[in-house]
């Protein structure tokens, strides 16, 4: 019998072209970053690491990177700390306003980042929090909460309640049951939610552009400011470093969670 569920040559060519389309821009960034020249060019015979060394002479990129990590770490942690009880409430209980609360938590996904930036800029400056760490964390928490909540919620919904009931009937207190049974069982979702929240916060540009100050500049904001002034090999080497770090992170995440599950949240 002929099988109809195999890809033909046209399909495979399409797939190859599609992958080239997706990967070419990233590949070009990495390639250009190895140029030995002082200007943008594609190195063909000589390759050099001079533009990677040059990053060390630009402390503004390194401090922006460290600040981004610090901000993403704080925001993801706060977001998950809020998402776990919120997920338990919406998954375990039926109560008036449940749907509305859920929609409220997911609403940042529907608001354009530029609108959030506009709203947060005037709000933070009226509070006197503009450009402060706590101000940025508060804004990033709102932005990344839907991502954290979605994954935590998936693991709470999928969890077997019998284990909790067993712990309770064997005499464990509510708190002990939560700490020793519930938390370990939902840990994959919590970790996945934290990682996705961290990455989303780390990558965010548009909203942060409005609320960052010179002393609280994140890496994407610093890069944007640099690119709007000039595109040089330095910005390519900074991007290549980001691509490299993200690729390592991606393989680890794919091994642990499966990338499609992490991004779809099912």
């Amino acid at each position: 019998m002929r099988r109809y569920d195999k890809n033909g040559p046209i399909a495979l060519t399409f797939n190859a072209l599609f992958l080239i389309f997706i990967l070419a821009p990233l590949f070009v960034v990495c390639w250009v970053s190895f140029t030995p020249e002082g200007f943008l060019s594609m190195p063909t015979t000589e390759f050099s690491l001079r533009w990677f060394v040059a990053i060390l002479d630009h402390p503004e990129f390194i401090s922006a990177f460290l600040f981004s990590v610090y901000l993403a770490f704080g925001s993801a942690t706060v977001a998950v700390a809020l998402a776990v009880p919120a997920a338990l409430a919406t998954a375990r209980y039926r109560f008036p306003g449940r749907g509305m609360i859920m929609a409220f938590f997911m609403s940042p996904l529907m608001i354009p980042h530029v609108v959030l930036g506009v709203a947060f800029l005037s709000y933070l400056s009226s509070l006197g929090w503009a450009g402060t760490y706590i101000g940025l964390v508060a804004c990033h928490v709102i932005l990344i909460m839907p991502y954290a909540l979605r994954l935590v919620l998936a693991s709470v919904t999928g969890m077997d309640k019998a284990a909790e009931q067993a712990a309770r009937s064997l005499g464990a207190s509510r708190w002990t049951t939560f700490r020793r049974v519930t938390i370990p069982l939902i840990m994959p979702g919590v970790t996945g939610g934290w990682v996705l929240a961290f990455i989303t916060s780390f990558d965010e540009l548009t909203m942060t552009l409005f609320i960052a100050s010179p002393s609280s500049t994140t890496l994407p904001v610093r890069m944007y400011q640099h690119i709007t002034e000039n595109v040089d090999p330095l910005i390519a080497s900074v991007s290549a470093v980001i691509i490299f770090i993200t690729m390592i992170l991606m393989f680890v995440l794919d091994r642990i969670f499966g990338l499609d599950k992490l991004l779809v949240g099912k």
Partner: protein, 284 residues
């Protein structure tokens, strides 16, 4: 009432943070959009519709809104055109190949938009890779001008957003029974008929859901149009940014932002209504 206490206590902290950090700033922005601004007095509380009137009547803003939504429609169509077949092809691959291809397609979603846009700037710049190669091959005599064009923005945004379309269609495809397709073929339908009459109707909800995400994200895109479009090709998001940080006309910026938000919500809502209505049978 007492039995409702635990869920309210559990979700309470997050609700309080969301009210303080989301509801209040959004309402304040809405209020701000009705205030006035002049270079001499700054922002004054003369409430009125004048900022909205300015956007609605000024042809400068018409052009910006028209460009933004024209780009959004183009990007959405292109994403559906290449993303849906790709998802279909992925679904027919062996498991090992599929996870490798999925990694390559979804991985870039984890890389900042600014890095992906930079890649396009390096490819299509006046002395970028494409121009260098074409000059070297003697196809052209002088560099093609690709930067700062609408086409550049469209292509780069398709690149940035097409993973969402692939993901959305692929999720729908996983629920399908491959035997239906085999049945159609063995009953004598051609490849094309099977595609058009059997496969496409079944994955349509996935394509529509993906289109919605792509359209909404394109309409509010900032980094890619800003870097590849330059000063001349403004879109709604970059205009709001300029009003806020360059002109300092916050009330007008707030009005543009409010219009963008409301347009997004209206599009998403009416689209959902349409999809629910049309595919009620599929979802039930």
């Amino acid at each position: 009432m007492k039995r409702y206490l635990p869920p309210y206590l559990l979700s309470g902290p997050a609700v309080i943070i969301f009210v303080i950090m989301l509801a209040v700033p959004m309402i304040m922005t809405f209020m701000l959009s009705f205030k006035s601004f002049s270079f001499y007095t700054g922002i004054t509380p003369d409430y009125g519709w004048h900022n909205y009137l300015e956007v609605v009547t000024d042809s400068y803003f018409h052009e910006i809104f028209f460009r933004t939504y024209a780009i959004s429609i183009g990007v959405t169509l292109l994403c559906a055109l290449i993303g849906a077949p790709e998802a279909y092809i992925l679904n027919r691959m062996t498991k090992a190949w599929r996870s490798m291809c999925l990694l390559a397609i979804l991985g870039p979603l984890l890389i900042s938009v600014i890095v992906r846009t930079l890649g396009w700037a390096l490819l299509i710049g006046n002395n970028g890779v494409i121009n260098d190669a074409l000059l070297l091959l003697g196809v052209i005599d002088e560099p093609l001008r690709m930067m700062y064009t609408t086409q550049a923005i469209v292509v780069a945004l398709v690149h940035v957003l097409v993973p969402f379309m692939v993901l959305s269609v692929w999720t729908t495809l996983q629920k399908l029974d491959p035997q239906v397709e085999n049945a159609s073929m063995s009953l004598g339908a051609s490849h094309f008929t099977t595609m058009y009459r059997v496969v496409l109707p079944q994955i349509m909800p996935g394509i529509l859901a993906g289109s919605l995400i792509v359209f909404a994200l394109t309409a509010s895109a900032f980094a890619t149009p800003s870097i590849l479009g330059g000063r001349a090709l403004k879109v709604v998001a970059t205009t709001a940014y300029d009003e806020y940080l360059n002109t300092l006309n916050w009330p007008l910026g707030a009005a543009i932002a409010t219009i963008l938000l409301i347009a997004n919500i209206v599009v998403v809502m009416s689209y959902n209504k349409y999809v629910e209505h049309k595919y009620a049978a599929v979802f039930d």
